[in-house]
């Protein structure tokens, strides 16, 4: 069915008191960003609801995008027809028929803001209800909890019909909860952590460590492509790549093997904190889940957290691997995450990392390194890329190929 408009109902943000205007403005911006490429539609973010006038854009595609924007409780596609009873009847039958299966029940629910229209609310309900009964064979009327509620709104600028409500993504509009830095590897967990942070309104920037030539261009491209998968929720995401080769080589050279991982993570955290400070980030997000791998123990967290006072938020900390995978599949990062490119964590991974590293020992081993110099040089090589919805990194030739195909 080709709809002409979509009515969007806000989520929890309507309870947020004074901040409400901010939330609504932000949601409006996010919706417009995620609908970039649809050139004809118009988004109006009003106080109580948002209206999207499609002006001929494809309603199915628009709704697909909308269902990913955080801060939306649900939305209803509608069709506007002229104030002409025959047109209303025809559209109503088409709409109800599309959802009709054997045994379906319905009712008509009319609201009227234009009181000059020829029929009043009850007359409209009767007239349309009777028409549908006659023209959709087998359908019956039910007042309490029918399968289909056909909502009809008579307004001065036309009559709006809708019969369907789709679930939104819930959560809070991204950007209303400040900015966070996500430590993005190429694995399954970190994109999920990023997604969950964004769901609670955090505007997320990706921090990715790469160590050429030990890690490949493809591993970097994969991290960028994972970022692309998170863009539908916001439109664009900043991707920050941090050169990590020198630090990893030094650690490998100077630190005893069981502590390689701990010291490496301490450096990553230091760098992420510095980048956050430079870019106005308030917290660090990562994909650590308790006990999942040997290094993700509470002892390990103690030894690593030591280098920063910035809040470290671990959205998946208490989730089982299978639960994380379910989310990864839902947000379509799973298939990408399991592509076999070495990242900087796997390449230098010691055979037996310390599961219970000691804080004092960590500090002691690290003191052998030129911490400030290493950090400074890594920061000097940082590169920031703005990643947009729909971009391709793993298959850079895709548009070239598209011409061939």
């Amino acid at each position: 069915m080709q709809y002409t408009e979509i009515m969007v109902r806000y989520g929890e943000l309507s309870t947020k008191g004074k901040n409400k205007r901010n939330f609504i403005d932000r949601l409006g911006t996010n919706v417009r960003n995620s609908l970039r490429g649809f050139d004809d539609l118009v988004v109006k973010a009003n106080r109580d609801r948002m209206h999207i006038n499609l002006n001929g854009d494809d309603s199915e595609l628009v709704m697909q995008r909308l269902s990913q924007v955080f801060g939306i409780q649900n939305f209803s596609p509608a069709i506007r027809v002229e104030q002409d009873l025959d047109a209303v009847k025809e559209t109503a039958v088409a709409m109800v028929s599309e959802q009709f299966v054997k045994g379906t029940t319905f009712k008509v629910n009319t609201r009227r803001s234009d009181h000059d229209f020829e029929l009043d609310t009850n007359e409209m309900n009767d007239e349309l209800g009777g028409w549908i009964l006659d023209h959709v064979p087998g359908i019956t009327v039910k007042m309490k909890q029918p399968d289909i509620i056909l909502r009809v709104e008579v307004r001065a600028n036309g009559i709006f019909l809708s019969s369907e409500t789709r679930q939104g993504a819930g959560g809070l509009p991204v950007g209303t909860a400040g900015k966070g830095m996500l430590m993005l590897s190429g694995g399954i967990d970190s994109p999920v952590a990023g997604y969950l942070g964004m769901k609670r309104g955090v505007s997320m920037e990706m921090v990715h460590f790469f160590s050429p030539p030990y890690t490949s261009e493809q591993a970097l491209a994969k991290a960028k492509e994972l970022t692309v998968k998170l863009t539908p929720y916001v439109g664009t995401i900043q991707f920050i790549e941090v050169p990590f080769t020198e630090i990893q080589e030094q650690i490998k050279h100077d630190v005893p093997e069981p502590y390689l991982m701990t010291i490496t993570r301490r450096f990553m955290l230091r760098l992420t904190e510095k980048i956050a400070e430079l870019r106005g980030g308030l917290a660090i997000f990562n994909g650590e889940s308790l006990g999942q791998v040997a290094s993700q123990t509470l002892e390990s967290m103690v030894a690593i957290n030591d280098v920063t006072t910035m809040p470290i938020i671990r959205p998946v900390v208490s989730m089982d691997k299978n639960e994380i995978i379910d989310v990864a599949k839902k947000i379509d990062t799973f298939d990408l995450s399991i592509k076999p490119f070495e990242d900087c964590c796997t390449i230098f991974a010691p055979p037996a990392p310390k599961t219970k590293p000691r804080l004092d020992r960590s500090r002691e081993f690290e003191a052998r390194l030129d911490i400030d110099g290493l950090i400074e040089r890594a920061l000097a090589g940082v590169k920031v890329t703005k990643i947009h919805i729909g971009e391709e990194y793993l298959n850079e030739n895709s548009s070239l190929f598209a011409e061939l195909l």
Binding site: E217, Q218, L394, N395, N397, S398, F401, A402, L404, L405
Partner: protein, 383 residues
């Protein structure tokens, strides 16, 4: 030259040849290699797959590449037999299938499988009641072609699918080699269909490449084992230039399908109406919608098909006895015999088959030549 033998093969499209050449020259890495050349080839392979999947409105991993339509038919039938032989050893097909299906079934019979061949009516079409009667608890596969390659009959695939909804474990295979781009996609890609065979060179792609649709959740055993390509289901280094070319050819084919089908139907109708005016002509193909728009099979009573083909050839018009595969064996058409057409008449049958590039002018030229040849044959015949 007028080429009316498009069901045998089609001429490769210039744009497709261009893609084939460019890919051969520039993207020649092995898609399985880890290095960048391999990665680029892998990406092109997957993008080609994506494009085909979206053109057919299916999932990417439901498209698997093969070397030909014959391979596709062999694979689905034998692959099903191997995967499901512990459940049963009974297969059902029709009496009018392409030899790629017929001879594969025969081979399985030698191995102890049992095959039911459903009869057809005088239009070459099976009756679903016969299918209902043939289905058994040990049936593992129903294989029915979408469009008959000799006379163009469209089989009642939707009705077959409806019957098979009560037999959810039976694999439903459709050979759509002659059907792609001919306006019957809804039938051969309907919900209940599990496997579909396609061949590239029937729609202006290069030789030596095809693909199958294999519904997610359905499993067949591989015929070619080895390096694990195509999700470990069809080993062998992928023919990337031909696959990319085929993906392009499919896009070109399906872009204006409705328009092109109408065009072929018009060309067919001009010839159909003309030759039907002659007394000794029998047309086996019909004009109605349960016949493909591009195949016209007819016989001139008393004249061998081979003579008709060569007579037209000497006038620069290329047609064929009923199918390229059986034409050199001097056999009567299997489809016509299955329709109970007398053998003498079946041996007089020829097939003309169009593509979207054939024109009304060509049809009129065919008719002009036909008149001359018909009268010539009449002289021979009357003696």
């Amino acid at each position: 030259m007028i080429y009316f033998d498009n069901s045998a093969t089609t001429k490769i499209a210039p744009e497709v040849l261009d893609t084939y050449n460019k890919v051969s020259e520039q993207v020649w890495g092995n898609p399985s290699s880890l290095n960048n050349l391999g990665e680029v080839a892998h990406n092109l392979l997957e993008q080609s797959r994506q494009q085909i999947a979206s053109l057919l409105n299916v999932l990417e991993d439901e498209i698997l590449f093969t070397g030909s339509g014959t391979e596709g038919d062999n694979w689905v039938i034998k692959g099903t037999a191997m995967a499901k032989m512990s459940h049963g050893k009974h297969l059902i097909t029709t009496t009018v299938e392409h030899p790629a299906v017929m001879n594969t079934m025969a081979q399985l019979e030698q191995l102890g499988f049992e095959v039911t061949y459903l009869p057809v009516d005088d239009e070459g079409r099976i009756n679903v009641e016969d299918l209902k009667a043939a289905l058994r608890s040990d049936t593992i596969l129903v294989s029915v072609m979408a469009v008959n390659n000799e006379i163009g009959t469209v089989q009642p695939l939707v009705e077959i699918g409806n019957v098979l909804k009560d037999y959810p474990t039976v694999h439903f295979h459709v050979d759509a080699v002659q059907a792609i781009g001919k306006g019957v996609q809804e039938a051969f890609m309907s919900d209940r269909v599990d496997f579909v065979t396609f061949s590239g060179h029937k729609f202006h792609a290069p030789r030596g490449v095809g693909f199958i649709y294999s519904k997610r959740g359905r499993h067949i055993e591989p015929l070619l084992t080895g390096g694990g390509q195509e999700h470990n289901l069809r080993s062998g280094t992928e023919n990337v230039p031909a696959i990319a070319g085929m993906s392009k050819a499919l896009r070109l084919l399906l872009e204006n399908e409705t328009e092109m089908v109408t065009k072929q139907k018009t060309v067919k109708e001009v010839v159909f109406n003309h030759i039907n005016e002659f007394g000794k002509i029998t047309t086996f193909s019909k004009m109605q919608s349960n016949f493909a728009p591009h195949i016209l099979c007819f016989a001139i009573e008393g004249v061998r098909g081979e003579s008709i083909v060569h007579a037209f050839e000497s006038e620069g018009i290329y047609i064929s006895t009923t199918s390229a595969c059986s034409s050199k064996k001097n056999q009567a058409s299997g489809t016509l015999l299955a329709m109970n057409v007398p053998e003498a008449l079946a041996k007089s049958a020829v097939r003309i088959s169009f593509d979207e590039n054939n024109t009304l002018e060509e049809a009129k030229e065919f008719n002009r030549v036909f008149d001359i040849l018909y009268h010539k044959f009449e002289k021979i015949n009357s003696k």
